[in-house]
């Protein structure tokens, strides 16, 4: 493991070359490089332009429905008999997940850059649905790449995207999941580089994406901060979020990075168990590597070939992790935990019955960690869980796992 220096602030990254310590960077084909430099410039200009922020805030308020509530999970808190549990309700956003926060920002940027066509990769389909939705709203051509295997397990989202006018292209290579969809989206981008904006759905990919997606998702953490101060008069003790690429977690965590008393817990998908090798826990079971434009923790074999990940949750079924997470882990700011498929399914059912909420299977991993840890915490401990998406899309998968037919 690389020992990295502790900075004065955790919120200043990346450096001007897009590096978080040894992680991040721009490991892309030369064809894309000029475009990535343009994108960085356009994003910096947009960030400095008050009208960009104003327009985005307006869409977030009136189209997405922000702010999303911070909800006190009273029955779950009672059931565990430990920490006081709040949910940040990103599942209540338009399109049903946190993904849309990022999509609105990038679509506005695409429009500023005069790109008439947007493409995206999707795993669970949440980012694809958000992209298809916003593309419809802005009148943009939209192509979504999705692994064939993910299309099978997320059929409702495939149909939603098509209803929204997007073309969903099945990806048949490799493990036929999220990483392969990202390969294919990169191939499309390299081919149509002059007309196309690649709308990456997580804090992954080449710089400036990890920083840009983080900025756009940080609305989650900013709202949470204000809401918990309103509700409890103090900052939370623990923030918990699931991580695949890591965008919902980074959005929640980033505004709290320099509050040393706030624990940040990222829950990776342990699939069938870390020891089985069938998991998607890049920071727990991986090592530094380069894939999809950045250096980060990666599931790979000793020869540097990427290992096909496994998780019941399509949104977490990815062999890497955003580079800023990798850095925060190495400098000791981020705690990394895991939850198995089984634990996520149990958490899914538990939440349905105690709070009347069907969480996305992704978010259920974060709830699973809480189910394990909260009972041991004192009642004055405040825990905020990012409920990053809703679980309607997962009912077929859950039904199969329960042995029930639909």
């Amino acid at each position: 493991m690389t020992v990295q220096q502790q900075p004065n602030s955790f919120r200043t990254g990346p450096d001007e070359r897009g590096h978080f310590g040894i992680f991040g960077g721009r490991f892309v084909a030369e064809t894309l490089m000029p475009l990535i430099l343009d994108l960085e410039k356009a994003y910096n200009e947009a960030k400095a332009d008050p009208s960009f922020k104003k327009e985005m805030d307006s869409y977030l308020a009136h189209y997405v429905g922000r702010p999303s509530p911070l909800y006190f999970a009273e029955r779950l808190t009672k059931k565990f008999g430990g920490a006081k549990i709040y949910f940040k309700r990103e599942d209540l956003n338009h399109t049903g997940a946190h993904k849309v926060n990022n999509v609105i920002g990038q679509a506005l940027l695409a429009r500023r850059m005069g790109k008439p066509r947007v493409i995206a990769e999707t795993g669970a389909g949440q980012h694809g649905v958000a992209t298809a939705t916003v593309a419809a709203r802005f009148g943009m051509e939209c192509v979504i790449y999705m692994g064939e295997r993910d299309m099978e397990r997320q059929q409702p989202n495939v149909f939603r995207m098509r209803l929204l006018g997007a073309e969903v292209r099945p990806v048949k290579s490799g493990s036929r999941t999220l990483k392969d969809a990202m390969n294919e989206a990169l191939r499309d981008w390299v081919t149509n580089v002059r007309t196309t904006f690649y709308l990456i759905g997580s804090v992954a990919g080449p710089h400036p994406y990890p920083a840009m997606v983080r900025d756009l998702q940080s609305v989650i953490g900013r709202e949470t901060r204000e809401q918990i101060l309103g509700a409890e008069g103090r900052l939370p003790d623990v923030l918990v979020a699931c991580v695949g690429g890591g965008s919902n977690a980074m959005g929640l965590f980033h505004p709290f990075l320099d509050d040393p008393d706030v624990r940040l817990v990222a829950v990776e998908a342990a699939g069938e168990g870390i020891e089985t090798g069938r998991h998607a826990a890049a920071m727990t079971g991986g090592s530094p590597g380069v894939l999809h434009g950045s250096r980060s923790y990666l599931l790979q074999d000793e020869d540097g070939q990427v290992i096909e990940p496994h998780s019941i949750s399509a949104g977490l079924d990815y062999p890497g992790i955003g580079p800023e997470h990798a850095w925060l882990k190495d400098v000791g700011r981020l705690e990394v935990a895991t939850a198995t498929d089984r634990e996520a399914l149990d958490a899914f059912e538990l939440l349905a019955r105690t709070e009347g909420i069907l969480p996305a299977l992704e978010s259920a991993h974060a709830v699973a960690w809480v189910a394990r840890e909260a009972p041991r915490m004192s009642p004055d401990t405040l825990v905020v869980v990012n409920l990053s998406g809703r679980g309607d899309k997962d009912i077929y998968t859950v039904a199969r796992a329960m042995g029930a037919g639909l």
Binding site: E30, T31, M33, G174, N183, R187, V190, D303, G304
Partner: protein, 281 residues
């Protein structure tokens, strides 16, 4: 003595002809077959040999080369086997340049210092690493140059039109430049000759390095047309596709594989070598 790449391009310039660069995936469909093909290429007319280092996620390659990488990986090909194959080739052929092409992660995982040392010892002459643009290539380019390996830069159509990009690309390039003839993945379509001609003119305004042109060149007629403009012509996907077309149902090489590849390379070489050159002089 000059290095093999510089020597080969100087030779081509003296003879007033363009060179043929062939690309095959190491270990495709298995290492013995690949080595047999590689050994046959110089005799068939290849001037520079590009050898693909298999990678599980070749984002810049089209389906033909991706399938070749997958066949090689299924056959158990590892980076050290690729270096061993070059070493065996080099014992028999001391002059034909060998350039390894691939993605950074397997090299990073192998260890950069160890990799450049082993590659140099095996008789490798240069590296092309698709996902290391100048912004990130320092960590490999530095050690590679110190070990005497050329670090071949890729130039894309988008690099030609981006202000200030070309000078930056050629600044620390060596050996030769590889011009990607269109925006897209390997083998996706045919290059547009007038665009290639304009791009080459722009490149030659900023560097004296030889320029090889690749992506989408399949047939002798096409290769000859590009050879009239460029210092070398790269043929990759078409050869990898030819390998795929000469495998049996179990994926084993058929007896006619070697002959088919040699015959195609001979035809391409004849076209490239015979092309009337009208640029770069």
């Amino acid at each position: 003595m000059r290095d093999r790449i510089t020597e080969r391009f100087a030779e081509l310039a003296r003879e007033g002809r363009a060179g043929l660069v062939t690309f095959l995936v190491a270990g495709d469909p298995d290492m013995a077959t690949f080595e047999d093909l590689l050994a046959a290429l110089p005799e068939a007319g290849a001037d520079v040999l590009e050898v693909g280092m298999p990678f599980s996620d070749p984002m810049a390659d089209g389906p033909a080369i991706e399938a070749g990488y997958q066949r090689a990986l299924r056959a158990g090909t590892r980076l050290r086997h690729v270096l061993q194959a070059v070493e065996r080739f080099r014992r028999r052929d001391p002059t034909t340049p060998v350039v390894l092409m691939g993605y950074y992660n397997p090299i990073y995982r192998y260890g950069v210092e160890r990799f450049v040392e082993d590659a140099r010892a095996a008789g490798v002459d240069g590296l092309i690493v698709v996902d290391l643009p100048p912004e990130e290539d320092g960590e490999l380019r530095g050690p590679a140059r110190e070990a005497g390996l050329h670090f071949v830069r890729l130039v894309a159509p988008t690099s030609i039109t981006a202000p200030g990009r070309l000078p930056r690309l050629v600044e620390s390039a060596s050996g030769f430049l590889y011009y990607i003839s269109f925006t897209g993945v390997t083998g996706a379509r045919e290059p547009d000759l007038s665009e290639v001609e304009e791009a080459l003119a722009a490149i030659r305004r900023v560097t004296e390095l030889p320029v090889a042109v690749g992506f989408g060149i399949r047939e002798p007629v096409q290769a000859a047309a590009v050879a009239r403009l460029a210092d070398a012509v790269v043929v990759g996907s078409a050869l990898v596709r030819l390998v795929a077309a000469h495998l049996d149902e179990a994926g084993r090489p058929r007896d006619d594989l070697r002959g088919a590849v040699v015959e195609r390379v001979r035809a391409l070489a004849a076209a490239v070598h015979g092309a009337e050159r009208n640029a770069g002089e």
